[in-house]
């Protein structure tokens, strides 16, 4: 167990190191920077600023400085917002997390239920209908369905706000504030749930179909248990077991926000922060964000492996 962990952790660190170098170089070689994009500055002032931010140094030296600071917990300073990158992350990340956790909850709930029923009624009309809907959900461009919903529910019907997290100029507190946020969340959560519903439902459905064919399900039926009990106690438990590995893979999505959806719904999350920093070429923030997702991805993968081994009593490390 411990040698396995040590091996995994070492590999993780090497991969992250390589990723950081690649990410840094990519941003470093992207033409244009925060300073040259700003038309208000005189050439002399630009040169001066470049000196201050160390943008004139060779790429590798800048990388070394970046990494050194990163090891001290300093991921740089956002040029556009004039705040430390980490502080900005902390401000925005929880908004992203709120959106992600709610939609993840709905996604899992709905896909487990639909997956179980569809598997139980395999090849029925309900099953075929569900499969088509699932394919539909998997085939819509995220930004397009976002736009359609805004147009429908916010612009035409005026049932829900078109974007943001609170109404502009509102200073509601307490329950009124919660209600306002929920109203603003409704559409983005709907889109995010819809988009991730497809693959998870398919996953549960095929897991359930495999499980239902097992001998122990026949035993459970031979015992005269109610079909509901057979499905939910005997089958679902076994079908959920492998899904535990997915929890790890959800990690980047939970904290990393969603670039497209947050942008479309103008949700003040970390994804939108990235998108707005992208146009102003705020490199420290962009690099910090990309690196952050990479770290989450690596940790998530490790978490998945460990969870799987923990969940299944038959697998030993």
């Amino acid at each position: 167990m411990s040698t396995y962990l040590v091996k995994r952790l070492t590999y993780m660190i090497i991969i992250l190191f390589a990723a950081s170098l690649l990410i840094f170089c990519l941003y470093a070689f992207t033409p244009g920077d925060f300073i040259s994009g700003n038309l208000k500055l005189s050439p002399e002032r630009k040169e001066e600023l470049r000196q201050i931010y160390g943008l004139n140094k060779p790429v590798l030296e800048r990388y070394a400085i970046w990494m050194k600071n990163a090891f001290h917990g300093n991921f740089g300073y956002s040029l556009a917002q004039q705040k430390p990158v980490l502080q900005l992350f902390n401000e925005y990340i929880w908004n992203s997390f709120l959106l992600a956790i709610v939609s993840t909850f709905f996604t899992w709930l709905i896909s487990v239920i639909i997956g179980v029923i569809a598997a139980y009624k395999q090849y029925s009309l309900f099953d075929s209908l569900i499969m088509v809907i699932i394919f539909a959900a998997m085939s819509i461009p995220s930004f397009f369905i976002g736009l359609l919903l805004i147009k429908g529910f916010a612009v035409d019907l005026k049932w829900l706000p078109p974007g943001g997290m609170t109404t502009t100029g509102s200073n509601a507190t307490g329950l009124a504030y919660v209600k306002e946020v929920i109203q603003h969340m409704a559409l983005p959560v709907m889109v995010m749930t819809l988009l991730s519903l497809g693959s998870l439902t398919r996953y549960f459905r095929s897991n359930m179909i495999d499980v239902i064919k097992q001998d122990y399900i026949r035993t459970a039926r031979a015992k005269g248990l109610k079909e509901r009990k057979v499905l939910f106690t005997h089958a679902l438990r076994n079908a959920l077991l492998p899904a535990i590995t997915l929890v790890g893979f959800e990690l980047p999505g939970l904290f990393g926000g969603s670039l497209i959806i947050e942008k479309i719904f103008n949700w003040p999350g970390i994804g939108q922060l990235y998108m707005s920093s992208f146009s102003s070429r705020d490199y420290p923030l962009l690099m910090g964000f990309t690196m952050f997702i990479a770290i989450l991805t690596v940790i998530g993968t490790l978490l998945s492996d460990l969870l799987y081994k923990l969940a299944d009593p038959r697998v030993k490390l």
Binding site: A19, M138, S139, I140, F144, L147, K151, I260
Partner: protein, 311 residues
């Protein structure tokens, strides 16, 4: 010869005598089973329809994609312009069809590229193992670690900054999509290879003393072809979606070359978004219809070709 055909006729069946080549009859059998899946067939028909519409449709259109008509600006759908016109008076239907050419081509070509790179590298890694495997798979791991959307955004930004001509951008976008697409594929193919290697008939090729290249291309790769076909099909849908995202944000193929993605960009204009849905809804629906058709068809293919994935 006539005796044979006579026998066949008396048998009443049109199927030829038991195919001497097992392989071809296996394929035929798969196709027959696929034809029985109505959903998959309708998916295929839809895809073919969209391809025909986009590639042949514009030839029958009285309008050209880039012809401005200032007298007919921002007109809603009518008998003359079935899907209306845009701010330069261009016919939306014609532009949607022309955009489809680009979007479909990009989707298809980047699939071909990433499947080619992915399966080749995956096969090599799985076959040779050792150092080659290590190098290839570590690069794949690295690329899978870095989130692909920011990666594509950076690449798109580079294109814009270097002022790559719009006609060339399309090809570079294909390349970009396959760069982020191949690692997952390579991993999959490698896994298949590793398990195939252990099978008895591969042991037999070692006994027979076949050469590496022959083993790889004549014995191993053909065995994963069904799987590759399935993945490739589903991959087209993913590529079309990816391209649309990039182009929507102005980082993929950009105007005046129309793609479905960059046509939806009209929605970024508040008035167009609220008042003129005919500008941005049709291309979005085209993406949706095409991708869902491809996915349904691909899933039908999977049922037929991938034995491990029985529905």
């Amino acid at each position: 010869m006539s005796a044979v055909s006579g026998n066949l006729a008396s048998g009443g069946a049109k199927t030829p005598v038991k195919a001497p080549v097992a392989k071809s009859s296996l394929w035929r059998q798969s196709i027959r089973r696929l034809m029985r899946n109505k959903l998959a067939v309708s998916g295929f028909v839809t895809v073919v329809f969209m391809i025909l519409l986009c590639f042949i449709g514009p030839l029958f259109s009285p309008y050209s994609g880039n012809h401005n008509n200032l007298a007919m600006m921002n007109k809603p759908p009518s008998a003359q312009h079935w899907l209306g016109t845009d701010k330069l008076g261009r016919d939306i239907l014609t532009r949607v069809m022309l955009a489809g050419r680009i979007s479909l081509t990009v989707g298809f070509a980047s699939m071909v590229l990433s499947v080619f790179i992915g399966s080749l590298l995956g096969a090599i890694a799985g076959y040779y193992r050792g150092v080659v495997d290590q190098i290839i798979m570590r690069i794949a791991d690295l690329l899978l670690t870095i989130p692909s959307l920011p990666l594509l955004f950076i690449a798109g930004a580079m294109l814009s900054a270097w002022k790559v001509p719009t006609d060339y951008r399309m090809y570079i976008v294909m390349l970009m999509l396959s760069v982020v697409g191949w690692p997952g594929l390579a991993r999959l193919v490698r896994g298949e290879m590793l398990s195939l290697r252990e099978r008895e008939y591969m042991q037999a090729t070692i006994v027979l003393g076949l050469r590496d290249r022959r083993k790889l291309f004549h014995h191993l790769l053909p065995n994963i072809t069904p799987l590759l076909i399935v993945i490739a099909t589903l991959n087209i849908g993913g590529s079309i979606l990816m391209e649309s995202v990039l182009s929507f944000f102005g980082l993929g193929v950009i105007q005046p070359t129309p793609t479905w993605g960059n046509m939806i960009d009209a929605a970024n204009n508040l008035i167009d978004f609220q008042e003129r849905p005919w500008l941005w809804v049709p291309p979005g629906l085209c993406i949706f219809i095409t991708v869902i058709a491809i996915n349904i068809f691909g899933d039908g293919l999977r049922d037929v070709l991938d034995p491990k994935h029985k529905r």
